[in-house]
């Protein structure tokens, strides 16, 4: 409640600012980094997405993030993560993040607090590192790089590592058994940076105990997907 009030106050004062000649505009936008169809080498299909809705000012931004994976073959919501984050600059290129994360896929729900950093590392690597705090804490780091083949044709390799600190058998997690996702997506900016269709590959693999659990349950330890999708920004 307090957060909402603070938030309304911030937005309100920005809007009601009485000197339009020099008033800063409200920052807002929607960035959907991934909206794709994944096709597995063993025939399974899924729709996956990863997007942020942002509103705020230079000093404080509110971000609503949604990440998910929906297996179309079995109509199963494999992954559904929703995060509400507050982001604040702490250095020239990095922001500190604090928030909450709700996982509500098929199966048991999980809720975590989020503490992290997000920004641009030297040599143009976009880095996102979060600590998820709860009964089943974990650490996740994502890094991405945009390689310009031309000014419109962009190859984006990405890597994500998720390390759980404790067991969570219910959702097939083993302590210190990391999950790795590696991707390479080739996109083309069709309309500014608003619409950019892409094709690419996406590889997932689990290690350690997490992998053992998956194999025990008859699941694959790794999977390679061919993806086609679209990046959106407005």
């Amino acid at each position: 409640m307090k957060h909402t009030l603070i938030w309304v106050g911030l937005i309100g004062s920005a809007i009601l600012s009485t000197s339009p000649s020099s008033a800063e505009s409200l920052i807002w936008g929607v960035q959907v980094e991934q909206l794709e169809h994944r096709y597995n080498d063993n025939g399974s299909n899924a729709i996956a997405w990863d997007g942020d809705a942002i509103v705020g000012t230079d000093e404080l931004k509110f971000v609503l993030r949604s990440e998910g994976e929906f297996e179309t073959d079995g109509d199963v919501m494999e992954t559904l993560e929703t995060q509400a984050r507050l982001q604040k600059p702490i250095s020239t290129f990095f922001d500190a993040v604090v928030g909450v994360r709700a996982d509500t896929p098929e199966g048991p729900d999980r809720f975590h607090g989020v503490v992290g950093v997000k920004g641009l590392a030297p040599q143009w690597f976009e880095v996102d590192a979060d600590l998820y705090l709860s009964e089943h804490p974990s650490f996740r780091v994502e890094a991405e790089y945009e390689a310009l083949i031309t000014n419109r044709l962009i190859l984006t390799p990405s890597i994500e590592v998720d390390i759980p600190f404790t067991d969570d058998r219910e959702i097939e997690i083993g302590a210190w058994g990391p999950k790795l996702e590696v991707g390479a997506r080739l996109s083309y900016d069709v309309l500014d940076r608003s619409i950019a269709p892409y094709v690419g590959v996406h590889y997932e693999r689990t290690f350690g105990e997490t992998r053992d659990i998956a194999l025990e349950d008859g699941k694959e330890g790794d999977a390679l997907f061919f993806v086609t999708g679209i990046r959106l920004m407005y």
Binding site: S22, E24, F93, N151
Partner: protein, 602 residues
């Protein structure tokens, strides 16, 4: 000659008043602010215009008259009009929050002020992003006496960088992704072609050096994808101005862009610059000039042939251009020159930006192969590490006047101290322009190899003020965070800043230290900016001072206008994101009453 001009002016004035409801009666003008559709030939969009058009009408005032301007706001949002470059009471200056509350939707606001100057100026909205959306027009003020230059006819050449996106959208996009509009970024292909030119090691080091800073050397124009217009017309629409061969033509060049600087040339014609920012300068003839955002230049051209001439304006970052035609008859089309190669910033342009940066790895950079430089060779004076520039006194750094032969006894170099500069190497073909960092990738050269106007060439025709020592100096570091698209002064945004307080009667010396990699056209409202070009009493009197990356520029202001004034970078998206200050002038006659009855005559 004068007779012809008067007849022409009379006919023009008559046609203006017939065709243009702006001129109700001499001294009284009407403007409406309207939503309009802008059609550039490349795209159409919704925008804002004056009297139904963008650009708005050319307001023709007479020096010495008292003007009354009724502005009716037909928009559904507040608006304002600022008279750029005009000296007037502060409550007529048109800046919401500083001069007044703005003009509410449906309201008619009446401006009243005396015209105390002559020359070319312009007007525009100072609300939101209405100016980039089309709300701008020109002001031509007739001299009460005879002009110090002759011409048979004149044309207004007002440039803008029309963009398909609304100003609000552009600002939002820049905040979400600072390189949203930059399509000149270095690609993998560039890496290979640079490797061929400079060698793999040098190229890798170059990329690593810039990557370490997370800065782009090709980020000269933040906002690309615009269609430049001359008087509202793109190259396709071909604005045409007529002349009779043998006539002298005065061109009132105005850059009303939101973000773009233009390099202007007229192949086949030299331009004699007679005014800069509305003030007469000792005439200087050039082949090409760069006009920063919000600046004006009045030039005389003398076309003798019966042919069409191209008035060509190329954006500084070489991403777009516009061609207008000067012709003896309608229907003629001048050729459109090709865009020149994109310039790239060099480490020299980063000079001020990096206290404590490890410049050690710069030794491996091969400076002699910058793509933009026409002759590829750079003056070989030793470049101290950027931070060393602070301590040097350069009296405005007038190196522009150095010719390429050895000086007999240096009498012309009076008053300059040159610590750190290697003079022997200066005697080379390329001349330095002290308003760019030594070795800058941004320094322009004329396309035909001729003379390119530099600030160093500007000398006031008639000084407006007695030349005296400044009473104090105020340092304004031009700062910003490109990645977040935050722009500021002394690292503080407008919203967090205290006003700059000046005292009526003092002479303040402003020191602009550009710690960013962008050029900033700094504009102080209501009072003149006397740019220090090292010419003492002949320093030019301007209202916009461009400060190039990695340089320090000085200008002095005689504080003779009471009230409060805006002071900001005139790049629209920089001003809005914080590169702005309110200036409060304490003391002086309290003449806030804009009523004519109280304004003393003359």
């Amino acid at each position: 000659m004068i007779r012809n001009t008067l007849v022409f002016a009379g006919l023009f004035g008559l046609s203006v008043s017939v065709l243009n409801p702006a001129v109700a009666e001499a001294g009284e003008y009407n403007l409406t602010v309207d939503r309009i559709t802008i059609d550039t030939g490349e795209f159409t969009r919704s925008g804002i215009g004056y009297n139904g058009a963008s650009p708005g009408p050319v307001l023709r005032f007479k020096e010495g008259e008292d003007v009354t301007i009724n502005v009716t706001n037909n928009l559904s949002e507040p608006t304002s009009i600022h008279w750029h470059g005009l000296i007037l009471p502060f409550d007529q200056d048109g800046v919401p929050g500083i001069s007044y509350d703005g003009i509410a939707p449906g309201e008619t606001f009446t401006y009243r002020f005396p015209i105390v100057q002559n020359g070319t100026y312009w007007f525009h909205s100072h609300s939101g992003f209405q100016e980039p959306d089309g709300a701008y027009g020109a002001i031509a003020i007739e001299n009460a006496k005879r002009e110090p230059f002759r011409y048979d006819r004149e044309h207004v050449i007002q440039l803008t960088d029309a963009h398909p996106h609304s100003g609000d959208r552009v600002m939002r996009n820049l905040k979400m992704s600072a390189d949203y509009y930059n399509r000149q970024q270095q690609t993998i292909g560039d890496f290979f072609s640079d490797s061929k030119k400079m060698g793999f090691g040098a190229t890798l080091n170059d990329r690593l050096a810039w990557g370490n800073m997370r800065m782009m050397k090709n980020d000269i124009e933040d906002v690309q994808g615009f269609t430049p217009l001359i008087n509202g017309q793109s190259t396709q629409q071909n604005w045409t101005g007529l002349f009779e061969p043998g006539e002298r033509v005065r061109l009132r060049l105005i850059n009303s862009s939101a973000m773009a600087y233009f390099d202007i040339r007229i192949p086949g014609l030299k331009m004699t610059v007679v005014q800069a920012d509305g003030n007469n300068v000792q005439p200087v003839t050039v082949d090409e000039l760069r006009i920063a955002v919000a600046e004006t230049y009045d030039v005389i051209v003398h076309p003798k042939e019966d042919q069409a001439y191209a008035v060509f304006a190329e954006s500084m970052g070489r991403t777009a251009s516009v061609r207008g035609t000067l012709a003896p008859r309608e229907g003629m089309i001048a050729d459109v020159p090709e865009l020149r190669e994109d310039p790239a910033l060099t480490m020299a342009d980063m000079g001020m930006a990096h206290e404590g940066m490890d410049h050690g790895n710069m030794g491996t950079m091969d400076h002699s192969n910058m793509p933009a430089m026409e002759n590829g060779s750079m003056p070989s004076h030793t470049m101290p590490d950027g931070t060393a520039m602070k301590g040097m006194k350069h009296e405005g750094m007038n190196h522009g006047a150095m010719p390429s032969h050895t000086m007999p006894n240096g009498t012309a170099m009076k008053g300059m101290t040159h610590e750190g500069m290697n003079h022997g190497a200066m005697a080379m073909g390329t001349s330095e322009d002290s308003f760019y960092a030594p070795g800058s990738g941004l320094k322009p050269t004329a396309a035909n190899g001729g003379k390119f106007l530099s600030y160093s060439d500007l000398r006031a025709q008639k000084p407006l003020y007695e030349d005296r020592e400044a009473t104090r100096e105020i340092e304004l570091r031009l700062t910003g965070n490109m990645e977040r698209y935050i722009w500021s002064i002394n690292d503080v945004k407008m919203s967090d800043a205290e006003p700059i307080v000046l005292k009526y009667g003092e002479r303040v010396r402003f020191k602009f230290v550009n710690e960013t990699m962008m050029s900033h056209p700094m504009h102080l409202h209501g009072m003149w900016s006397i740019l220090d070009t090292g010419k003492g009493k002949w320093d030019p009197i301007k209202h916009v001072v461009n400060v190039s990356p990695g340089t320090t520029a000085y200008m002095e202001t005689e504080v003779d206008a009471p009230g409060q004034w805006a002071f900001h970078c005139h790049l629209s998206y920089h001003a809005d994101s914080g590169m702005f200050r309110k200036v409060v002038v304490e003391g002086g006659p309290q003449s806030t009453d804009a009523d004519f009855g109280n304004v003393s005559g003359g």
